[in-house]
């Protein structure tokens, strides 16, 4: 996406948005990993930028849509975790860029069991 000013043009790439997003997600409580969208993507993402694994940003004009593919800790309330992710991602991206995020979709790709439970 881009913005014209008197001095010139500001352009923000989807990759930049993805970096902000990934940082926010990694600090979201309940998220223990990011997952590739499809298994086939694994090789590509592994070779590509690890920082953006599981983050997909689509920009269409002013419309920003963020899709997240996450692994959540087993034994948490998944809907609450997902809501928190949406809020924190939206907040961080909007604060950094000063633009509205149209959609944040959270796809829970798997659960990770680190505590065998009672």
């Amino acid at each position: 996406m881009s913005e014209e000013t008197q001095l010139g043009k500001i352009e923000i790439s989807p990759t930049a948005i993805a970096t902000i997003t990934a940082q926010a997600v990694l600090q979201s409580y309940g998220v223990v990993g990011m997952a590739p969208k499809h298994l086939g993507d694994e090789l590509m993402t592994a070779l590509g930028d690890a920082a953006h694994r599981g983050v997909q940003v689509r920009v269409d004009g002013d419309h920003i849509q963020i899709d997240l593919y996450v692994v959540v800790e087993y034994g948490t309330r998944i809907s609450s975790v997902a809501h928190s992710i949406m809020n924190v991602v939206r907040y961080n991206v909007e604060r950094a860029l000063g633009v509205q995020v149209a959609q944040v979709n959270v796809h829970v790709q798997g659960l990770h069991v680190s505590n065998s439970d009672v």
């Binding site: 309940g30 223990v32 809020n87 505590n115 439970d117």
Partner: protein, 565 residues
């Protein structure tokens, strides 16, 4: 779910006895107390939020999570502490809201796993259980952020592991609460965003409040706001409050009926209907059973009783409306009640008289020890002053009457000061004088030094008040007809006019505004913010080199209170 003072036989008596073990019922009581204490602190915790995101009300989220935990615990008849802990963990998990709620549920989850199937909780079990809770919570995030509830929970657990005191659980908890307080206080040094906002971490504070609630219970201290604010010996739970508790949980229908039959099984009906809702009361014999219950879905109750027998005198009532009335009545009651804030024991504390919500907030933010509502037409009594002075944990109290008509009552309170308490009145006659005085206040200084500094500060402020004349009068050379707008300069009638603006211009001139730096405009409860802003804009145009601040005062009768300094 309002909780009164709690002391129960399942815990060894507070006081001289030592509490060496807690069974399932004991843990249940602790949860109940912490829930009530969390409810009392809900708004205070919400106020600590840094992120302006939806669902960001940490206090509310943690409360809802604990309410869900309590609902689960309340149902379990278990006596083993391990089983009760598991019920807490399960309930917290099912009801977890927001980040803080999810983390809280994980803390309980680890706690419960550590207690396994133990019958009682002893000092030796507590440290591993807290450690396990903290570790479980840390596993839920890739990059744990320090300076949050995670940090506080971990440091409390570590303190417990290092604790070498005796095995009295109440004493241990007291030490843990003290440690938790330090930990919460340190969160701004770990998390810059907290420091910028000037707050401590809300989740960490919520966790601390839960521990505090348990400790208060063990010490026999009250855990409800009402109990503390009014310092009443014991708060009676009125029916309205029980109903309100149920309504707030969604059980909004009050269902009553009589069931008539030949061979009714009262016990079975009691069990079945109780399971449908809350506050169930089912009494009777094999021929007639009276049913009363609060439910979400009243049809389910009727479907059920129809199968049991013939139904008479059935009625349902939507308590939501009652609840609204109750909430309104309660907030009104709170608005007219004295309020006590945190005061360091032994330090000088101030008591300010404030007309209106907004001004109460201003005084509160400036660190007064207590607020007595009142002003021009609702003068607080000497007794009210004595009541709050009694409750403040200090022997040195300053009163700011903030109204010419209140100075006398305050003075009387000073004369009647209870033994061991020293009261001095700083005779502020207007609210701005009181605010200026409070700004000059220093809790660590002596009473005498404070009085001098505060009187000096109050003296240097000019106050203008805008209201309407209640009768025809001629005073100080100003002639006024009833209903006209009048202005008071430092509590004395000084000008009148046909419009509020006229009076404001007259006052500002008399206040020597041109030579001053700051104008503050407190607007009253009948004035809209937009009107106040329009007036401020007009003032700005006339006095371009002065700074103007607009504050919602919420005071009755006075459209505006102005001050210049």
């Amino acid at each position: 779910m309002t909780e009164t003072q709690v002391r129960d036989p399942s815990l060894s008596s507070p006081g001289p006895g030592r509490l060496l073990a807690i069974n399932g019922q004991g843990l249940k009581q602790l949860i109940k107390a912490s829930l009530a204490w969390l409810k009392s602190n809900q708004q205070a915790i919400n106020a600590l939020n840094v992120f302006p995101v939806p669902d960001g009300d940490t206090g509310t989220n943690m409360l809802l999570t604990m309410e869900s935990a309590w609902a689960e615990v309340d149902k379990t008849p278990a006596d083993r502490v391990g089983q009760v802990a598991r019920a807490i963990a399960h309930g917290a998990l099912m009801g977890a809201r927001g980040n803080s709620g999810v983390i809280l549920s994980q803390l309980w989850r680890g706690f419960a796993r550590s207690l396994d199937d133990k019958e009682t909780l002893t000092a030796a079990d507590l440290a591993p259980a807290l450690q396990e809770g903290s570790q479980t919570a840390y596993k839920g995030v890739i990059k744990p952020v320090e300076g949050t509830i995670l940090t506080v929970a971990r440091e409390v657990a570590e303190a417990c592991a290092d604790d070498t005191g005796d095995d009295d659980l109440a004493a241990i908890l007291e030490r843990l609460v003290a440690r938790g307080r330090e930990s919460v206080a340190r969160t701004p040094t770990l998390l810059p965003i907290l420091k910028q906002a000037g707050v401590v971490d809300s989740g960490g504070q919520g966790y601390l409040v839960i521990l505090e609630g348990m400790l208060r219970h063990l010490c026999g201290e009250p855990v409800t706001v009402g109990a503390i604010a009014a310092a009443m010996p014991a708060v009676e739970i009125s029916e309205a409050e029980i109903d309100a508790g149920d309504v707030s949980l969604g059980y909004a229908y009050d269902v009553q009926c009589l069931v008539v039959g030949e061979d009714l099984d009262v016990d079975r009906m009691c069990a079945d209907i109780s399971a449908m809702g809350r506050s169930a009361l089912i009494v009777g014999d094999a021929k007639t059973v009276k049913v009363h219950v609060h439910v979400r879905d009243y049809m389910a109750v009727f479907d059920y009783v129809h199968q049991c027998g013939r139904v008479r005198e059935a009625s349902t009532e939507d308590m939501a409306a009652q609840y609204q009335d109750y909430v309104a009545a309660r907030s009104q009651r709170e608005a007219s009640a004295e309020r006590i804030f945190q005061v360091q024991p032994g330090q000088v504390a101030t008591v300010a008289v404030a007309p209106g919500e907004g001004l109460s907030r201003v005084f509160q933010s400036l660190g007064v020890g207590a607020i007595v509502p009142g002003g021009q037409t609702m003068n607080p009594s000497t007794e009210q002053f004595l009541k709050v002075v009694e409750q403040l944990p200090t022997d040195k109290v300053l009163i700011l009457p903030n109204n010419g008509n209140v100075v006398l009552a305050a003075q009387q309170a000073a004369d009647l000061a209870p033994a061991g308490k020293h009261i001095v009145v700083v005779p502020t006659k207007t609210v701005p004088q009181g605010i200026a005085a409070q700004l000059a206040f220093n809790a660590q200084s002596t009473l005498e030094a404070n009085v001098a500094a505060m009187e000096h500060a109050a003296h240097h402020i000019q106050t203008g008040e805008v209201t309407t004349a209640t009768r025809d009068v001629e005073m100080n050379g100003v002639q006024v007809k009833q209903g006209r707008f009048i202005g008071l300069l430092n509590d004395m009638l000084s000008t009148s006019g046909d419009s509020i603006e006229d009076v404001v211009w007259g006052l500002l001139e008399q206040m020597g505004t041109a030579d001053r730096e700051i104008i503050t405009l407190y607007y009253g409860n009948g004035v809209q913010r937009a009107e106040a802003e329009a007036l401020a804009q007009a003032i700005r145009e006339r006095y371009p080199s002065q700074e103007i601040e607009i504050v919602e005062g919420g005071q009755p009768h006075y459209f505006y209170i102005l001050s210049t300094e």
